[in-house]
């Protein structure tokens, strides 16, 4: 049962990846683009087909002047509701960029390359990079009429995957950087993703949360090692029940690697739906022949 839980994430991610990347080929242009989720997904045809709301979010000024008030209100309400219901489950389960990065990471492990281990110092540098992208992403669209798309690495990755030719731009350079870095560091992009951070800001309101039983924890450090975002509070927290942070992707890697019974768990509406256990730990370990 629990073994299925970690497979389940890959299954969901793969489905959404196919939907967002090849959706036009399969479903045509039927899906209305009004229901845009706050994720990084390139709209294949800017007018009609389905994409994430990244395009809207990085061209806020242009978009506001070209859209009716009703549409603006609908967009804000819809975005807010998805953030409430899913929180950063959007990042861990739905975002196609997340899937690409996870595949790259698995590919590296398959080739037996060593990963670049990020310690606290390097995460601090990533934090600065994150604020830089946030400023370019949001302020660029509002104040400077600068399109994030012209440097966005995803623009040079997902449309070509769907079979669309792209012209050479700066984003290809960033795309190569993106592939190399996420090959050596798990979920590199998520560490500096502006939309993900925007969702994370609302984590206290969101229904999903990560819980910790502080007494059961032995501080074995497995969760911190497993976390692609380098969240140390899941290891060091000893008083509070809730260990959700802005950065948490809800990828459940920490729960998979936690050997203590119920020490870490994923909660939805305060109800624990996926808990850590010894049995689950050894099943996820892939050490049995």
């Amino acid at each position: 049962m629990n073994r299925l839980a970690s497979k389940f994430r890959w299954f969901v991610m793969a489905i959404f990846f196919v939907f967002f990347t090849f959706g036009v080929h399969i479903f045509g242009l039927k899906v209305p683009s009004k229901f845009a989720l706050p994720i990084f997904s390139c709209p294949i045809n800017y007018e009609t087909s389905y994409g994430g709301s990244c395009f809207t979010l990085c061209h806020l000024k242009k978009w506001v002047s070209a859209t009716t008030t009703a549409d603006i209100v609908f967009f804000i309400v819809f975005t807010f509701i998805t953030i409430l219901i899913l929180g950063r489950l959007l990042c861990g389960y739905i975002c196609p960029v997340g899937f690409i990065q996870d595949v790259l990471d698995k590919f590296r492990q398959f080739l037996k390359f060593d990963q670049i281990k990020f310690s606290e110092k390097r995460y601090k540098i990533l934090n600065i990079m994150k604020w830089a992208t946030i400023i370019i992403f949001f302020a660029g669209g509002i104040f400077w009429e600068f399109s994030f798309c012209s440097i966005c690495p995803i623009l040079a990755i997902s449309p070509p995957l769907a079979g669309i030719k792209i012209v050479f731009s700066l984003s290809i350079v960033f795309a190569i950087l993106f592939i190399v870095l996420s090959f050596f560091k798990r979920r590199f992009w998520c560490n500096i993703c502006p939309i993900g951070y925007m969702i994370g800001v609302f984590h206290k309101l969101s229904f999903t949360s990560l819980k910790k039983d502080c007494q059961a924890c032995t501080e074995c450090g497995a969760c911190y090692e497993a976390c692609p975002m380098g969240i140390k509070i899941i290891l060091t927290e000893r008083e509070k029940d809730d260990v959700t942070t802005n950065d948490c992707l809800m990828c459940m890697e920490c729960i998979n690697k936690c050997p203590e019974k119920d020490a870490l768990s994923l909660a939805y509406f305060e109800k624990k739906i996926y808990k850590a256990s010894r049995k689950n730990f050894f099943e996820n370990q892939d050490i049995n022949e």
Partner: protein
């Protein structure tokens, strides 16, 4: 001139030989006595015999560890911070040599200050006698720099055997400590490869991970058995099992434990218990107990208590924390090893050790503990320091704690018996 000299040498040799013989016979006597007491405890499961045989083979028959084909060398290992996986990966067997031999401690007094802990005294003493094959046949000793006594022992014992020290950081609040420990493990890996002439690579390391993980899964089953009320197995027998782990190849040990676990499961099915439902359940915490110095665990159970859990480093704790592989490459495995042997260790040598209190609280909850016996080996200061912390914390939960300070000498056994009996009786009457 020449003649005289050789005559003198012969005399010294004879004296040494006689000393060795006396030492050997006292070790055998001591071990036999303890084995008989373990044997006499009621409720002994049948499949514990292989473990008792291991102890018998090592300390009574004075034979070396059984070596499966391919495993040629043995390394002597101290403390719980040495990554055994790496030694198995180098096709060698780690034997855990923290000693509990009283006569060894007496010999060791020549080399150590009076207040050193008996475990270190005994380890140095037994090594210096060069009489017990499990010590004699080790190619090298691996000593982590954990507590002060072990640090100094690393040097003292190197007079008799070559020693590889492993630097264990005394603090771990920062990532840099783990990173440095990883670097130290790489150095250790090179040393091992140089000595054994075997490459430690991804495959061999993963294979040894599997071996240890199997042992850990079985150990965890045994711990789950200990959580049952009424008890299915006595704690002294569990400690015997864990002590046998020190002198055997992990695969053989795991197979034996598999059989023991099955027997215990059957016992649960047929309602064969070793104690009544209301027998006081005791948590044994503090300094390590090593065979043949099992006097306190055995005394507890001879006095009517049930040793429901032990928190000492050579008990079930040795195999409690599993290695979490978060990255499936050689460097990932090395890092996982470093994290596993450094982070969850509740040894009080570490500066910040609050996790030990939480661990004890969790054990009290899981095993339904009624009282704690806090064992302090005379001279084991780090454990003594933490006694107050444990007592203060347990006061909040109304769990009595008894501090027992002793060493390997058997003279105080009757005094200890009176104290332990009184403590256990107090718990009994408290419940009524």
């Amino acid at each position: 001139m020449n003649n005289k000299c050789s005559k003198g040498d012969n005399m010294i040799d004879d004296k040494l030989e006689r000393k060795k013989e006396i030492f050997k016979s006292s070790v055998i006597n001591n071990s036999n006595k303890m084995l008989r007491r373990i044997d006499a405890l009621s409720g002994k499961p049948e499949s514990i015999e292989p473990f008792i045989d291991v102890l018998k083979r090592t300390f009574v028959d004075l034979r070396d560890v059984k070596r499966p084909r391919k495993f040629k060398e043995t390394f002597g290992v101290f403390c719980v911070m040495v990554p055994e996986e790496m030694i198995y990966a180098a096709n060698a067997i780690p034997v855990k040599l923290c000693s509990g031999i009283f006569s060894g401690a007496q010999v060791g007094e020549d080399f150590t200050p009076r207040d050193a802990c008996p475990l270190v005294k005994a380890s140095i003493g037994v090594t210096s006698m060069d009489a017990i094959p499990i010590y004699k046949n080790c190619s090298k000793f691996i000593v982590p720099t954990s507590c002060d006594c072990k640090k100094k022992m690393a040097y003292d014992i190197s007079k008799f055997k070559p020693v590889i020290p492993i630097h264990v950081p005394s603090s771990r609040y920062d990532d840099t400590f783990v990173n440095n420990f990883v670097k130290d493990l790489y150095k250790f890996k090179n040393t091992l490869e140089y000595i054994t002439r075997n490459q430690i690579n991804y495959n061999s390391l993963k294979e040894s991970f599997r071996m240890i993980a199997r042992a850990q899964i079985e150990t965890y089953k045994l711990i789950e058995m200990q959580k049952r009320i009424p008890a299915v197995i006595k704690g002294s027998h569990v400690i015997t099992v864990m002590n046998a782990y020190a002198y055997e190849h992990v695969n053989g040990w795991t197979d034996d434990l598999c059989i023991l676990n099955k027997e215990l499961e059957d016992k649960v099915k047929y309602n064969e218990f070793v104690a009544r439902e209301n027998s006081p359940r005791i948590l044994f915490a503090g300094s390590p107990v090593v065979f043949p110095n099992l006097k306190i665990p055995v005394l507890i159970e001879e006095s009517g208590g049930i040793l429901a859990a032990d928190e000492t480093c050579l008990g079930t704790r040795r195999l409690y924390d599993p290695v979490a592989i978060t990255d499936d490459s050689l460097s990932g495995l090395m890092r996982a090893l470093a994290v596993r042997y450094l982070m969850p260790c509740t040894c009080p040598t570490f500066v910040q050790n609050k996790q030990r209190l939480f661990r004890i609280k969790q054990m009290v909850d899981d095993h339904k503990i009624d009282g704690i016996i806090y064992h302090v080996l005379r001279g084991c200061q780090v454990y003594d320091f933490e006694y107050n912390l444990v007592e203060d914390e347990m006061k909040k939960y109304d769990i009595p704690v008894l501090r027992v300070e002793t060493d390997y000498n058997e003279e105080d056994i009757e005094q200890l018996r009176i104290r332990l009996e009184a403590f256990i009786e107090m718990i009994k009457y408290k419940e009524i």
